[in-house]
Structures are given as C-alpha cells and as structure tokens.
C-alpha cells in the first residue's frame, strides 16, 4: 500500500500548509486523501501508512479516524447514500425517502447491497435544510429528493457501472 506519484504530490501540498514540525495538522485532509485512494474506507493498514507518512504514532491516527463520522472504518459500496434525517429534513419527508431506498435496494440502514454497488447510511444535518430532503453522495449533494429522483440516481449509477464493465 502506497500513494502513487500524483497522490504523493497532493500529500506534499497538504503538509506544506502548516509550519515546520506541525505536520500532524494535515492529518484530517490526509485521511480524506487516503480514504479516496484506497477503496473508500480506512483499514488499519491504511491508517498505519498515514501515521508513518506524517511521522506520528498509529494511535494518533486511530483516535482521529474513530472520532469523525466521515471516515469509514469498514468497507462500503461503490456509491454511499448518506440521507439526512435531522429536524428540517424530517419535516420535509426524509423518513419517506429513507424507507423508499430501503425497499428499493432491499437493504437496511448501514448495509451494502450484495453486488457492492450501494450503501445506505443516515446522517445528521448536512447544512442543506432549505433544499430538503437531501443526501450526500460522494463529493456532492442531491437535494429536493423525491422517489423519482432516487430512481433516476440509482438508474444512472447502474448504467455507468454497466458501461465501465
């Protein structure tokens, strides 16, 4: 397990933002980079590699990785649906969206479809309250969700997967 040349360049850019000797400050962004680079989650091996790169102890990485909700500590599907369920989304029908995704993909919250395509998660407020209900999918938000919109998103993911095969 190693970053490729391009990832190392990004790693160096991240570390260079902080004063000398304060390279630990880059830990959060570096963990994001590691998660993106190594299959969407952080294995112990990945975390140990990050510790080595930043010249800190592995426990310093573990304690951070387990604190923040955006780091996945077990494998996830290719597409992760993170549906907001806090107050403002709830009053705009997030429960219906969550139930619809469960039925449609035949998975419970926290589970991944057998083909490894989709993971469903519920999350707390993502700052899109005016555009509710919503979910995060990778880098972007999907807002004003309806059942039709969910259908289209799933359809598109499957189509892209078929094209890439």
């Amino acid at each position: 397990m190693k970053f490729n040349e391009q990832q190392i360049a990004e790693f160096n850019r991240l570390v260079a933002r902080y004063p000398e000797g304060k390279q630990k400050s880059a830990l959060l962004p570096v963990l994001h980079l590691a998660q993106e680079s190594f299959g969407g989650w952080l294995s112990t091996e990945t975390m140990n590699y990050v510790a080595e790169l930043l010249n800190i102890t592995p426990i310093e990485v573990y304690e951070v990785a387990t604190f923040y909700s955006m780091y996945n500590l077990k494998p996830v599907g290719k597409h992760v649906f993170e549906v907001c369920q806090t107050g403002p989304c709830m009053i705009n029908g997030s429960d219906n969206i969550i139930n619809y995704i469960k039925e449609k993909l035949k998975i419970e919250i926290g589970e991944t479809t057998p083909d490894g395509m989709f993971t469903l998660k519920t999350v707390e407020c993502l700052g899109a309250c005016g555009y509710a209900p919503m979910m995060q999918m990778g880098k972007f938000y999907k807002e004003h969700l309806t059942k039709e919109k969910v259908d289209n998103i799933i359809e598109e993911c499957r189509k892209n997967a078929a094209l890439n095969n």
Binding site: H32, Y71, N92, V123, E124, G127, A128, C129
Partner: protein, 451 residues
C-alpha cells in the same frame, strides 16, 4: 426592502470568478486598508460598526479582535470558522458557493488587522465541492496580487489555506475547531486560556464565522459609523437568515434587522408564507439550539409587542417567553408537525454530536435521546416528561463547551411551551402514532398579514 450589503451582487452572472467580482468593485476594501489604514485603525472601524459575531453567540467582533495577544516574535493566526453545522443553518455555504471572493476579501483585511500571515479556513468536511471553489478563488486572488508577499507593495504578507473537517458538529466550537486544525479529535479546551492568548499551536488566534468576516468588507468600504446606522440598537448591519421548514420560499435572505418576524414569514420578499395554505404552529428562529416558540409568542412578545428579527427582540422575555437570534437558522413548523418528534430528532442529533468529554453531556444527551424516543413512539409515561426536564436541567451549564446547553435548551423549551402535546402522546399512545396533535391553544393567535 432590506438593505443588502453582502448579497447585493450575488446574482451578477460570473460573480464567483475574479474578473467579474473585481469589475463590480471587489477588493476595493483591501486597497483602502493597505494604503490608508493601520491595523489598529481597522480594529477601530470594526468596533465602531457594532458588528456582532454571526456564528451564533453574537459577541462583539471588534472587542474579540482587541483581545489578541501580541507577544514579540510569536506568529498570530486568523481562523475562519466555516464548519457550519447547526441544524437549520446554511447561510455560510451560500456565501462561499456564490461569493467566494467576498470571503477572501474580508479575510485579507481581517488578517491585516490581526497580523495573521497564515490564515486558515476550516470548512466542514461535507462541503467538499466548496473547497474547490474557495481554492480556485484563492489562486485567482494570488495571481492578481491580493495574496502572497508584499501585497500592493506594502510590507504585509498573507496566505490563506483551506482545511476540510470530517463530520463533527462540535468542531464549530472554536477551541474544538483549533484542536481539529491541529490534527486531533475535536474535544473543546478548557478556557482560559482563551484562543486570543493561546490558540492554534499555542499561538494567539482569533476564530470568526464566515459571515462575520465577509461583513468586514462593507464595514471598511462604508466606514464603521455608517454601518452602525443600519439596523436598530445593538443589532447593527445586516444579517443572513437561512429559512427552511414548511414555508413557500426556503432560502437565504439578507435582512437589516428592522423587519418584524411576521413580515419575514408572510411577505413575498422573504419566506412567502406557510406552504400549502397551512397554519403556522411553531418556529425555531436561530438554529436548532435556541428555544422553540409557539406561533403566538413568535410573532408577539409576552408583553404583546411586535417581535422583530434582531438580537434584542428575539430574546425578549428570556427563555421563559423568548428565544435567540443564534446563527440565523430559521426553522418553521406548520400545523401538521409534531413537536415531540421534531424535538426527538434534535436530541438524537446532539447525542450523535456530543464529543464525550464531559459526563453531563455525554450521558445526558443519551438520556434525552432515549426518553424522547419513548415518548414519540407511544411508550412514554407522564413521569418521563418530568425526568426529561430534570435531565436537561442537569446538563445546562455543567459542561466545558456550549454543546451541553445547546442540547438542553430545545428540550426545555419544547416542554415549557408544548407540555400538553407531550402529555397527549403519553395518554394516547396509539392515536399519537397515526395522528398529530395539531395546533391547540396557539391556533387563533395567527392572522396572516397581507403585504
């Protein structure tokens, strides 16, 4: 119509990019600052403006700046708090997405005032695409000589860096944010020492909200005294309100703090009234942490006076009959909404977000979550309502940071104003699962105005 100082140019096509922003008068405040003002003079203008922190606490910004320690040879830092996570709040996101250069401009002037050569924007991890927008704006500003070494031929050097968080509400608390920026868990620090004395890497640090720092631009352009003339009393200038919930026009609005709550909800210029012709039931006017108010107390104070959208008026009556301006996250509930369920989702949120450092918050938020789950699902007893009250009371004021208070207040206010609805859930366990309590005693208080 409210005066617009921040969003005036938000709809100009291409304003996200440097050329258009500059053509529209962008970066003039940096020019004015570096050519005519000393750092102390900038702090003085901000003091005169009466600007109060727009993140939620409402502390006077100029005063916060004047506390920064200046030990010889120790670098100082400005940190921009873009960890917008308070449920109901999405105003900073709007500013950064559509007017990134306004924030960068405010950051350069503020960095000069505070003597920060390396300034950090700490942005919540979920706003991943906004990181790219900000970094592009920073590159553009640098390429045009507004960042880097000897800006505009002065002796001032400044760089701005963007750091992504990773999904923790607590990192919006300034000392937790600093911990996170140092690559640690977001556990708030005990104060004192305050960040102004020992902050990031033990150096003097000021942490300000995105909107606060953007507001520095109009303050410098028009002068602190002129800025202070907008608004009313100690609520000077303009405030961004992010409105959501059961309204016709959810979105981000800039108000000058002289309009009434009634006008804000019902006029076409703002929320456009309650959606689907329903009636207003309740509202959380300043982000999920502030007390919820039933319709009658929202539109008028307990004294029967009109309630206005400003710091003083929203808090009129204290927590007994008032609320707070908070972060400006305005959540509207219509007659079909269940206050017990809504409060339950908020308690679950705070349970999820407690950092676990202080026992009253770590354990108390679990209790709030569990008790409200029971009550909401028709499994509660009448004594659970008193227990809920007791638990929230034991969290408030007993924690290092305000997350404990933030978890307690919404629960306390819900019981205070909607106790009949909680009791109805206990007394009608089956009915409450398929039906809502409705409006009850605050129903006739509301006569929508026509604007």
């Amino acid at each position: 119509m409210s005066k617009k100082l921040l969003l005036e140019k938000a709809h100009v096509e291409g304003i996200r990019f440097y050329d258009v922003y500059r053509r529209e008068g962008g970066y003039n405040s940096v020019e004015k600052t570096l050519k005519t003002l000393s750092p102390e003079a900038v702090v003085e203008e901000v003091k005169k403006s009466g600007l109060r922190g727009r993140g939620g606490a409402g502390f006077p910004t100029g005063m916060k700046w004047s506390f920064i320690a200046k030990p010889e040879g120790v670098p100082r830092h400005l940190v921009c708090n873009a960890d917008e996570s308070e449920p109901g709040t999405f105003k900073d996101r709007y500013l950064m997405e559509f007017l990134p250069h306004l924030l960068i401009e405010g950051l350069i002037v503020s960095s000069y005032a505070l003597g920060s050569n390396d300034t950090y924007i700490y942005i919540r991890g979920e706003y991943a695409w906004i990181v790219d927008i900000l970094e592009q704006a920073i590159e553009e500003a640098k390429a045009n000589g507004w960042l880097g070494k000897n800006i505009l031929g002065s002796s001032f050097n400044c760089n701005i860096h963007v750091q992504r968080g990773a999904g923790a509400y607590i990192c919006g608390e300034e000392t937790a944010l600093i911990e996170s920026l140092e690559g640690k868990r977001g556990n708030p620090r005990i104060k004192p020492p305050f960040p102004a004395i020992k902050g990031l890497w033990e150096r003097p640090t000021v942490v300000n909200n995105v909107e606060t720092l953007a507001a520095i631009v109009p303050i410098i352009n028009m002068g602190g005294e002129e800025y202070a003339k907008i608004g009313v009393g100690r609520s000077t200038g303009t405030k961004l309100i992010s409105a959501c919930g059961n309204i016709n026009k959810p979105g981000v609005y800039e108000i000058d703090m002289t309009i009434s709550v009634e006008e804000f909800i019902y006029s076409e210029e703002y929320c456009g009234g309650i959606a689907n012709g329903k009636k207003l039931k309740a509202c959380i006017p300043g982000g999920s942490s502030v007390p919820i108010l039933p319709a009658n107390l929202l539109l008028k104070t307990a004294k029967g006076e009109t309630r206005y959208m400003n710091y003083e008026s929203l808090s009129d009556g204290g927590f007994a009959t008032g609320s707070m301006m908070g972060s400006g996250g305005f959540i509207v509930l219509d007659e079909d909404q269940c206050v017990v369920k809504h409060t339950y989702t908020l308690a679950r949120f705070y349970h999820h977000e407690s950092c676990g450092q202080c026992s009253p918050c770590r354990e108390g938020t679990i209790w709030l979550d569990k008790l409200l789950y029971k009550l909401e699902h028709g499994q509660g007893k009448l004594s659970d309502i008193d227990l809920l009250w007791d638990v929230q009371r034991r969290i408030e004021g007993n924690t290092i940071c305000p997350l404990g208070d933030a978890a307690a207040w919404p629960v306390a206010a819900a019981i205070r104003h909607f106790r009949d609805e909680f009791e109805w859930h206990v007394n009608n366990p089956q009915e409450s699962q398929i039906k809502n309590f409705g409006l009850a005693h605050y129903a006739d208080a509301i006569q929508p105005i026509t604007v």
